[in-house]
Symmetry: C2
Subunit: 171 residues, 2 copies
């Protein structure tokens, strides 16, 4: 049984799952990539390096973000956000927002690693130009599916929570 999630339930998922998939589009060609983010009501904050998605979003700020948690084919939650890309740059009066983004993102210790790791494609190092941005949430809808056996066990650790523990115990 698939049901709609409340706005509060959607936000709860955004707080629990800091990884999403961001789709942008240029001339009606979509492009979807993984992102890590920190959420607060109304916005997702993130960080990346200069590349195709930033170049496209600067030209067309309309984006879609999917955040989901699939515990099982019959037990999942999925939130879809329609939003607008807003770049946080030291050159456009957004210093306060950048400090705010930095503060939020620091709460997720690994958030910056995909963007900051050295990238080697072929024999050429790609230059790394950091870009802070946020997604202003225009619309947010969520759906969840709960199999009966899962609905009766709300306190069982989720897929995500189990993996957090497992990863934690390995390092």
């Amino acid at each position: 049984m698939i049901t709609q999630m409340s706005g509060e339930d959607c936000l709860t998922l955004l707080y629990k799952v800091p990884t999403g998939r961001l789709a942008c589009a240029l001339h009606d060609q979509p492009y979807v990539v993984p992102i890590q983010f920190a959420a607060e009501p109304g916005h997702l904050y993130s960080f990346t390096t200069l590349g195709q998605k930033v170049e496209w979003m600067r030209q067309n700020p309309r984006v879609s973000v999917l955040v989901d948690r699939i515990d099982h084919p019959e037990c999942w939650e999925s939130v879809i956000i329609t939003g607008l890309y807003e770049e946080i740059s030291p050159n456009n009066g957004y210093e306060g927002q950048r400090d705010h983004a930095w503060s939020l993102l620091q709460s997720n210790a690994s958030w910056w690693e995909p963007g900051s790791q050295q990238t080697r494609i072929g024999d050429t190092d790609r230059p790394l130009v950091p870009v802070f941005f946020r997604i202003a949430i225009v619309e947010m809808t969520g759906r969840r599916c709960r199999g009966d056996e899962h609905a009766e066990q709300p306190t069982e650790p989720t897929f995500f929570e189990r993996m957090i523990r497992r990863i934690g115990s390995r390092t």
Copy 2:
């Protein structure tokens, strides 16, 4: 260290991970949703029910599909496909393709469940109109990140493989 994946490595990921994120776009507004699929060289086959994504892809067949496996922030693989939506319908001479899609999709026992489960949004049951489709792969690129400790342990079960075992042991 992030490196480019070969075409063969990309296909291997598509065979291992039957869940992806499909982005379509209409009038430069992107829309991203989860999909389950069966891959073969050149195509992804899938099944859904009539809704926004099908309505949009019928108007603009250009899509992007992301398939990723994130074991750890420093150990992941990500494949991005640029492709074209092709609907497989009994009314347009695609019967052979539909049988082929059915055969491929049957290899993933849970592939059809999200599409075929009864959907209840509010108090209204949404009618379920099945749609078979495939994505013709126009371009496919992949990147992977391997932390040193992971590079030394290629035979360790992956995040995905561990979860398959865990889910299997619960049911």
